[in-house]
């Protein structure tokens, strides 16, 4: 019975290959976008884990210098002798030939188990690691390292990219930092009765694991972003699947009735239909997972560039996926199918044997259903508003923001059929000619069938408007920011303090101004912060603009900074610590300054603070500037002089234009992925419309035949069909535009603040929207072209069949 039942059910798909294709393709696309994004996230996370397993970040507390990046080895020993179970880490970058890599040195004996060489060594005995000295290097840098050192090199793909790890003794030698340690990893279990940290090492601070520079946390927002897009694409795909399944099940009501009349139990039938869907979803899921892999592989280089540019997080450029990823892709396909099919299966299960076998097609929604839908819309939009306004106060603002976004999008999607129906009713009411009246009425009647595809289009277009507005607003702000900050014509870096002094002497007569870039990593107001000492001059005063300052009441900001009486902080630090002009900020335990200004900062998510150069040198006498900005009217000449007369490598000099180019390049790559996903989502929505129209075309012959019989030509009918698709797309666009702008506002004013710590001004880009609109209309036109042509060429006999006598 099962075989016969399945064969009968399957015969439907054989007769309707288009619907089968829609179902499989929709599901495969949904799965592909979803699992592709998951693959990107998984790969990035695996890379963070590799980094974390070397660094112990995130898992273990760390002890770091209060300022600077060096702990004396004697301090480490003092802590050990006091009972503190800590492991030393020395970390620095090294240039080997053309390659710049990171050397991480650990003590395998005191590092917590599973960290560093202890886990990386594999088959290499500790004896070799300690006695001979081995560097374990990522394969990408192993060769370069081999040329640079006589130590034994073992390539290990499990390491983070551009990284080599080794015993701390070897690291101190290779990096030429004898007796120095960067930080200490604190073991989870500590002995009882040990003295407090500040009694042993007052210059060190304990950094709890959750607050450490955990790259996974920093990049969470980016991954949440990707995930949100993946989910949106998946939703769009599931809309298609839902439509295809719903239609197929409606059309098979007759078959179901017949099978039941012939003695097949209902329960068995529903099970068989479930089984059929399971098989279909496995096939489609399989295709989708493969597509997702290809998608992820093609996007990964951009994602890698983004993460490195934005967060300094390094991920490897090659996908290596676990079996669980493949399985989860299939699972999401099955889950999506189940989600899309539950309603249809439920209706079949509830259908009495003698119910009409005729497809109800797309009955116009009842008033009651409309009421419910309107209530759902109101609820969702209210929830969105609530999440956006009070959500951040309640907990995780980023999650609340995204949830608010989701509610807004879902609410708008549900509202779309109601809005379209209202607009079409108005048009019908206003229509003069009978043909137009019929056209509007018929368009309204088609709404239920096209509803899901149009919702998909709405979401895709709104996302497009929203994201492109955000990215373009960001770009404008960012370019302005670069112009403000990159004031020096040349930027020069040297290796040692001696060279730095020589450079200043050399450049003094040749450059208009020398701006030393003095900075130290520290913690201010409990936030990891880069503290800068600025040589205040017109470069700063003329170019920096503030989001907020107290110049009005207290006088010129930069004057006070120069005199060591005030500090300027960036927006990230201001928002993170809730500090604004007028508030006091402790720079060191002894020095507290009022905040004079808050500057926008769109380069990185870290906090920054700027004090005067003199004060900086007082507070941190050990920090010497090795990078300088040089202001000059003739950058070309100065550059040549620096290379030929002073002996700098060309690589040590960066000109302003190159720096801007590089920054903008990082910026553009940051949003390549978003853009690509955006286009893909839009394409999926276009596909949804095409498939809906094609499917409907077959069912619409009975609706169109009477009009044809009454004297409307097939060509005219075809033209009207085309027009209908374009009008529906245009009306949807009309809804999508404000929705997209609302989305952009939420992205700029809420998501960005939560994710990156900056709020961006919103600009409008009418030309972009017009282009998107044209694109969407074109997509709808193209999608409608084929069905319309098919209609215009429907043989008369086909239309006549509609009227054929039943007897």
């Amino acid at each position: 019975m099962n075989r016969a039942g399945l064969a009968a059910l399957w015969s439907f798909w054989r007769r309707n290959p288009l619907q089968l294709f829609t179902l499989v393709a929709g599901l495969a696309l949904a799965t592909a976008l979803w699992s592709g994004v998951q693959a990107l996230n998984a790969e990035a996370r695996a890379s963070y884990d590799a980094a974390a397993s070397v660094m112990g970040e995130g898992r273990y507390d760390q002890i770091v210098p209060r300022a600077g990046d060096t702990i004396a080895q004697d301090t480490y020993l003092a802590l050990r002798r006091a009972g503190w179970q800590v492991g030393p880490v020395l970390e620095d970058s090294l240039t080997a030939g053309e390659t710049r890599l990171r050397i991480v040195g650990l003590d395998p004996l005191t590092a917590p188990a599973g960290l560093g060489p202890v886990s990386q060594a594999g088959d290499t005995p500790l004896q070799t690691v300690l006695a001979e000295g081995v560097l374990f290097a990522h394969p990408g840098v192993a060769e370069a390292l081999r040329d640079a050192t006589s130590q034994r090199i073992v390539a290990d793909a499990a390491l983070p990219p551009d990284t080599a790890i080794t015993d701390i003794g070897i690291a101190q030698r290779v990096l030429d930092r004898p007796g120095e340690i960067s930080r200490l990893i604190v073991a989870e279990r500590q002995p009882m009765g040990r003295p407090a940290l500040d009694r042993i090492a007052p210059d060190l601070v304990l950094q709890p694991s959750r607050q450490s520079a955990d790259i996974a946390q920093l990049t969470d927002s980016f991954h949440l972003n990707l995930t949100a897009f993946g989910l949106l694409s998946f939703a769009v795909g599931i809309f298609i699947v839902h439509g295809a399944i719903g239609l197929a099940f409606e059309q098979r009501r007759g078959m179901v009735r017949t099978l039941r009349t012939l003695g097949m139990p209902l329960r068995r039938l529903v099970l068989l239909m479930g089984l059929e869907l399971l098989i279909l979803s496995l096939v489609a899921g399989g295709i989708g997972v493969v597509l997702g892999y290809l998608l992820a592989a093609s996007l990964l280089p951009d994602v890698a560039a983004t993460l490195e540019g934005l967060y300094g997080a390094q991920i490897s450029g090659a996908l290596s996926l676990e079996p669980v990823w493949w399985l989860s892709g299939l699972a999401i396909a099955i889950l999506g199918t189940a989600l899309a099919a539950t309603g249809a299966l439920w209706r079949i299960a509830r259908m009495p044997v003698l119910a009409s076998g005729k497809a109800r097609a797309w009955a116009v929604a009842s008033t009651r259903a409309r009421g419910l839908q309107a209530a759902a819309v109101a609820l969702l939009l209210t929830a969105s508003l609530a999440l956006v306004t009070v959500g951040p106060a309640l907990g995780d603002g980023l999650i609340a923001g995204f949830a608010g976004l989701a509610c807004l999008l879902l609410g708008a999607a549900l509202a779309l059929p109601l809005l379209l129906d209202a607009m079409l009713a108005l048009a019908q009411h206003r229509a003069r000619g009978v043909l137009w009246q019929w056209f509007w009425a018929d368009t309204r009647q088609q709404l239920p069938g096209l509803r899901l595809a149009l919702m998909a289009l709405l979401l895709a277009m709104a996302a497009n408007v929203g994201v492109s507005t955000m990215v373009s607003s960001f770009r404008l702000t960012f370019i302005g920011f670069l112009d403000q900050r990159l004031t020096a014509e040349l930027y020069v870096g040297v290796d040692t303090a001696e060279r730095a002094a020589a450079l200043q002497d050399f450049a003094a007569p040749r450059a208009r101004t020398i701006l030393p870039l003095l900075s130290v990593d520290t913690r201010l107001a409990d936030q990891p912060t880069e503290l800068y000492g600025a040589r205040v001059g017109p470069s700063y005063a003329d170019n920096w603009s503030f989001i907020a300052d107290d110049a009005g009441t207290n006088g010129r900001v930069w004057d006070r900074v120069e005199q060591g009486r005030a500090v300027i902080i960036n927006e990230q630090l201001a928002r993170g610590a809730d500090l604004w002009p007028g508030d006091d900020l402790a720079i060191t335990p002894d020095v507290t300054l009022p905040i004079a200004g808050v500057a926008g900062d769109y380069g990185n998510p870290k906090g920054q603070a700027v004090i005067g150069e003199a004060l900086f040198r007082d507070l941190f006498p050990d920090i010497r500037a090795t990078r300088f900005g040089l202001r000059t009217d003739d950058p070309g000449d100065l550059r040549d002089a620096l290379i030929e007369d002073f002996g700098l490598d060309p690589g040590q000099i960066t000109d302003q234009a190159a720096l801007k180019r590089f920054s903008l390049d990082v910026f553009e790559r940051t949003f390549t992925v978003t853009g690509a996903l955006n286009i893909l989502t839009l394409a999926v929505a276009g596909f949804a419309i095409l498939m809906s129209l094609l499917t409907l075309a077959g069912m619409r012959v009975p609706q169109l035949a009477p009009a044809w019989a009454l004297g409307v030509t097939r060509r005219a009918l075809g033209r009207l069909e085309l027009l209908r698709a374009v009008i529906l797309a245009a009306l949807t666009l009309l809804v999508a535009l404000p929705l997209g702008l609302a989305l952009a506002w939420m992205l700029l004013a809420i998501i960005n603040v939560e994710a990156f710590g900056w709020r961006l001004p919103m600009y409008l880009f009418p030309l972009d929207y017009a282009r998107l609109g044209a694109f969407a209309l074109l997509a709808a036109l193209l999608a409608a072209l084929w069905p319309a042509r098919r209609l215009a060429r429907t043989p008369a006999a086909h239309l006549l069949k509609v009227f054929a006598n039943a007897n």
Binding site: L435, P706, A707, A709, R715, A796, A797, F803, N805
Partner: protein, 218 residues
Amino acid sequence: MLLEITNLAKSFAGPEGPIEVLRGIDLSLGAGRTLALTGESGSGKSTLLHLVGGLDRADGGRIVIDGSEITGLDDAGRAALRRNTVSIVFQQFNLIPSLDVGANIAFQARLAGNHDPERAHALANALGLTDQLAKYPEDLSGGQQQRVAIARTLAAKPRLVLADEPTGNLDEATAAAVLDQMLALVSETGAALMMATHSPNLADRLDARVHLSLGRLA
């Protein structure tokens, strides 16, 4: 003569070669006259009506309606014919589902540009549809739907009404009532009527009757 058919032939492609459905039909019908077309299922009644109604093309022969030959018309010409001159009442699927009854009745007349609200109203009244004007076709019974189709046909004031088993889907009592109304209204408007039926009783009520058998008139 309103309608003159000469040596009309039509065949359809079948699994074992062409099937000749009409094999040289000669027929004429005067203005205001009514003609019953009888015959077995598959005898070619519907095909003949479709050809006359400009819904399909003939393979051979001529059809002249009101002095114009329609056999050579293109798609647009035949659509115009259907709008202006001929009107067809089918057995089923007659109505436009997205329009209400009132709009359905007015539809063809408005397409043809000769909509007369009073006439439409009078027809609706005569067919007992006054209370149904705001309803949609799916809310109507079969008999009511056919009455709407008849009202629509007659509202357009065609010279020639074609009816293909117009009451075939209705029960006997309803069928008789609907037919009575149709015949009365057709004669009132002075249109000619050609109706396919296989009921001898119905055929008897028309002015004349021809019998189709295997594609020929008997």
